[in-house]
Amino acid sequence: MTEEAVLIQNLKSPSTREKAFTLLLDQYQQRLYWHIRKIVLLHEDADDVLQNTFIKIYKGLPKFKGNSTLHTWMYRIAYNEAISFITKKQKRLRISSEELTLKILSELKEDVYFEGDEIQFQLQKAINTLPEKQKRVFQMRYFDDLKFSEISEILGTSLGALKASYHLAHKKVEQFLKK
């Protein structure tokens, strides 16, 4: 039995669930945080999304069938939560997605939890000019070092389309930074 299979078994059993969940938090908290942070950009927002993500994971564990790896399944929940958070924020502020991106970028510059230099800020700006799908593929591949097969499972897109998207995104970011 693999380590992940044991962890899943312990997570599903009521007697060992809490201990196993603590272990799960230790293993995945940071990875999921950074995954979320690259999507929502601001720490306060990432904090909210991370909390919701782990509560959803906890609630969803009894229904987890093991069709994908635990790792991919949790990334998908985190990704969906982050996207849902952005959509809600956009609706609440009654602005377009482009306006929201500009607003977040300006807030990021003032954020005490962003210490990036000008090049790092320009990289975020470049990524946020990309179309939605290219943006997410680029973030997952470039920052999270996820395999294309994992990204494919998280986003529900074919491998060929993903590779094409990443290639295009990479080119656009390069061009943006060369300006």
Binding site: T22, L25, K38, H43, D47, Y58, F114
Partner: protein, 150 residues
């Protein structure tokens, strides 16, 4: 103002000891909040305090439930009264209309009774005048009027 956190990634930073605090916070929220499938939660004290409140209000004043015997008895009584009232009014209406329909063909203007009927009608009319006059206190000779009628 910049934080002095060393945990950075592409310029992004987090508060000191963030992951430990967040872990505690998540574990606390999972163990203390009553997580339901639809995402709604309650405070851990909610059910015990609401139980107390319900018991208190039950002891002080007994609420009338729509399924209580008292409420059913009131409902049945009102319904029976309404049915009875409706039946009586409906019966009276039918009797009047039937009388008109059945009496009308019995009038025989060629018989001797027809004259006596007319006499009776006149008597009734005069008697009603007599009664009305008693109320208006006009100076009508009662004796003369009675003799005229009878």
């Amino acid at each position: 103002m910049r934080n002095n956190n060393t945990n950075t990634k592409e310029g992004f930073t987090i508060p000191n000891n963030y992951f430990n605090k967040n872990k505690t916070s998540i574990l606390k929220s999972i163990s203390t909040s009553n997580i339901k499938d639809d995402g709604f939660t309650t405070s851990p004290q909610y059910f015990s305090s609401s139980k107390k409140a319900i018991l208190k209000s039950t002891i002080n004043s007994e609420p009338i439930s729509i399924f209580s015997k008292k409420w059913i008895f009131i409902s049945v009584t009102i319904a029976a009264s309404l049915i009875l009232l409706f039946s009586i009014s409906n019966y009276n209406t039918k009797t009047t209309s039937n009388t008109i329909v059945t009496i009308a063909p019995q009038i025989d203007t060629t018989s001797n009774n027809f004259i006596s009927d007319e006499t009776n009608t006149t008597k009734d009319l005069l008697l009603s005048i007599y009664i009305d006059d008693s109320y208006t206190e006009e100076s009508i000779d009662d004796y003369a009027l009675e003799s005229l009628i009878f």
